[in-house]
Amino acid sequence: MNCEEIQVLLEGGTSPAEEAVVAEHLGQCAACAQYAARLEEENRVLRKALALPPGAERWQRVKARAAAGADLETFSRTRRRRAYWAVAGVAAAVAFSVTIIIVRRDTGVQTPESLAAHVATLQEEVRSSQVLDELDQLQIVFRETGDADGRSVAEDAELYVERLLALDAQRVDQAREVLAGIKAAGIHKRLLRVRDSISEDAPTPLRASLDLAASTLGKAAYLADSKGRHHGR
């Protein structure tokens, strides 16, 4: 091996066999021995120059920005979990509507008892799907993005869902009144319009939340409709 090859090996990370070759060469070559000695001092200077801790202010800034990013990630992870519930909610909505259709086909009318039962089921669904939380989040998103229309629809929807939750399912007249109010407001249709108007690249959870709220209130409107039929007959 020539001197340059030995000097490359002096950079380290060598095998025992290579170390033996280097040691033998250094024993015979004064120039390389001197080079090796100088290397030690150079490495000390390099460590001192390059291992300084970064400025505290810059590090605090990086840490704070990374933490804010991680907070946002955590938030969207939560929303992805919620999206799962939204899908479950839509599936439940389909099952629920099928039930109503069967009930209607069987009886032709919505009896006070069946209406009370359906309202109670819907209330339970509202609680388990956490649609109110979703509507809260939607309001935050719309506020941040300056979407006044979306925000107003989400606020209205929250109001109607709260009314739905608050009513006493056994008090059929009260239930009918609230359901009729939801139907008249057409809030589920407004929610779907907002969903269709938002940008294609909007996060999926945003659409899923709007779908969930529309599905919940759509069912309420459907029950109001069945009341109308009942009275019509």
Binding site: E11, G13, N43, R47, A51, P53, E73
Partner: protein
Amino acid sequence: MRGGALCTVGDGADVSKRDAGGRQARCDPREDGWVRAAKAGSREAFDALVELHGPSVLRYLEGMCGRGGEGEDLAQETLLQAFRRIGTFATGTDFRAWLLTIAYHTWVHSARKKKPVVGVLQEGLAEIPAPDPPASGTDLEAAVRLVLGTLPEDQRTVVLLRFGEGLSHAEIASLTGAQASTVRWRLFRARQVLQKALKAWRPALEERET
């Protein structure tokens, strides 16, 4: 690379070999617990790991980008990537080396997006004149950092990882996907540039030694 490697720094013969690059000894016996908890989703544990090893990431990336460059942005991106991928971290391996691997790839990705790299005129690098009166240690270290900024990126990376972060040749090879012999060659080439550029500083340096 193996877990707990950091905690051995400064503790005996094996360490002096391991620490040849000058790894900053930052040891916290709670690190293994933090890693397990962070993998299980604990944000607090992840933050503790970032507090311990994040400064290395910033130092390395500032070394790559130069102070006032994109180092801060890339460090932030690295920590966020680590947060996303913490579930994939192999328990028992070196967390800091894992972070630096992400930092390296973040930097490579960012450099790729920029203009094509034009070869740095390594041979044409001017010698940096030694100051008169003779240099202080601080001046010399500043000059080293200045020269470092002129090195080709593959050489700068190995110098920073070796002497700034104290990683072994094997760790640097694994991190950059290069052969250990390539790492050694890059260190050698970088040293030649440093020696040439700082030639005028040698007498002052030798004086300091004596």
